[in-house]
Assembly symmetry: C2
Amino acid sequence: MTCNVPFDLLEAFMTDAFKAIGVPEEEAKTCANVLVMSDKRGIDSHGVGRLKPIYYDRIIKQKIQQPVTQFEIVRDMAATAVVDGHHGMGMVIGKRCMEMAIEKAHTYGLGMVVARNSTHYGFAAYYPIMACNAGMIGLTGTNARPSIAPTFGVENMLGTNPLVFGMPTDEGFPFTNDYATSIIQRGKIEQYEREGKDCPPGLVIGRDGKTKTDSAQILKELVSGEAALTPIGGIGEETGGYKGYGFATVVELLSAALQQGKFLSALSGIDESGKPQPYGLGHFFMAINIEHFCDLAAFKKTAGDILRELRASQKAPGADRIYTCGEKEHLAWLERQDKGAPIDEALQKQLIQIRDEQNLTRYRFPFEA
Amino acid sequence: MTCNVPFDLLEAFMTDAFKAIGVPEEEAKTCANVLVMSDKRGIDSHGVGRLKPIYYDRIIKQKIQQPVTQFEIVRDMAATAVVDGHHGMGMVIGKRCMEMAIEKAHTYGLGMVVARNSTHYGFAAYYPIMACNAGMIGLTGTNARPSIAPTFGVENMLGTNPLVFGMPTDEGFPFTNDYATSIIQRGKIEQYEREGKDCPPGLVIGRDGKTKTDSAQILKELVSGEAALTPIGGIGEETGGYKGYGFATVVELLSAALQQGKFLSALSGIDESGKPQPYGLGHFFMAINIEHFCDLAAFKKTAGDILRELRASQKAPGADRIYTCGEKEHLAWLERQDKGAPIDEALQKQLIQIRDEQNLTRYRFPFEA
């Protein structure tokens, strides 16, 4: 049975789990904080559920990720820098890169840092929100394992490549447009499968160029490469699929070309002999210092006014409300803050396994009778 | 009958037409160049076809745009600046803003300039292409007259708000993702109407929350506000409409809040008494100096490699080729360079009218018998 677990407990446990497998204490805290923040925002796909498959297993089983992050600044200019993460912890690399971008933006008004040889950095909005907390606009993007087919193509080529802005407002939470440039992601298809539902047409394309809707079959074929995600806008050009494909390509270019790293099919995480290899992801981070343009409070007010005007506009019949980006994540936090994160049985087993393997004996979870 | 007109003739004529209504010579050249570049790229919706309705009429008939541009630098910091265009020529404002951003990026690696009280600046990719020609990445966006409805809404609130990156490559043309954040724009619906075709479902929403497909009716109702464009991703959330809506909102925020200008419904171009008033558009321009990150030739090679790998990936059955952003515009140029721009009869009449009204007697067009 799914059980709610307090966020503090999850964060402390993840910190100790990261420490147990060699991540230095401060960096373990960063990694755990990035993951738990995703759970707090209701984005379960990028939270504690990834502790075992994406971090723990890759570090101690597949050995394709380094627990100690060598954060090498390859080039440091006025408002810009290039970093090599040497396959360390993506969240540590991401946080330090955004800190650098913010520091540069304090001085010059703008800062931009790109990273090579990184690993999965968690939910992307974490880094723009850092900028928002510093009174700045933040921007980030990352490439990822190939999964989106180009318009008129059927092969999974581009990552789900998010292009995420964070902007401070006078409301209780920032604007953050954190989503894949595909229509759907694997996690949502898994949810359809659990609910016994088909995937809506147009979201997944097969090698025959036709849409696939059988959720269980799609999940297998996304792995084998027989199916690929479609970009925002869907299959073909008529409904604007080339626009989502264009944004995914923007992110691929910004993530790889400025840092001269790997891209597209080279990001499969598999070497020529079929063995796991470091992903070698690339990210970019930008901070825009609002006070170099205008008064920060005035910016926040105008941004809030824009979002409020959108939400107050006429609703479609049957629609309760109009949302703006980041609002659902804020509502999830309000709903979850006293309850904690819902942990399903599969995830409960993973947490117990890590606890037992690493002898973190002081942890008892509420789902343990 | 549609007639091809050489680009040089169009550019010279537009320059003289702008001069005739008070635009200073160098600025008239800029305006004409922005418009003709769009025709050269095959984007007829933003070229000479806009000379009369969007510029000529607004300057001398509606008197909501100033032919002489007062380009006031309101704030100039290290890598950033804020400009007030005082309702002058959008292309002049846009070009000077991007020149400033490029100059700042020469020094600091990054530059960003935002403009208030501007007017329609032509096709957006013009400015990122300036950055590409300087060995930089360019980014621009602009707000516009409200036409997109938010997800779960039916009211036209957001402009078609493009978010346009330009990146240099080792191919004969840059990457440019220049498109609206709606699925379709008015110009394409006009084309459907001329061809006697319905608009595909999902691209336009009515006040009843249902899609509209009758092209002639849509064109009327987009004006009356009974219909609105849907964001990339379409109606509702299931096919990712909130993602296109999110990008449109990003552009609205970046265009208005940093320069403390007008936004959303205030950009209708109509005052409270129903009379035309200056639009007061906002734009943003950014330049990213590639050589502050890596070797320019290496960047261009990697960018080209990414685009070539995408184009070489497996095509859907029946698909001839896979395109990358900016490629179709380049192909249009190759096809048009010796022929000129196709000018239809309605546009021929507009050009003759301007010529005669302004006594530009030395111009004879090939469509005049």
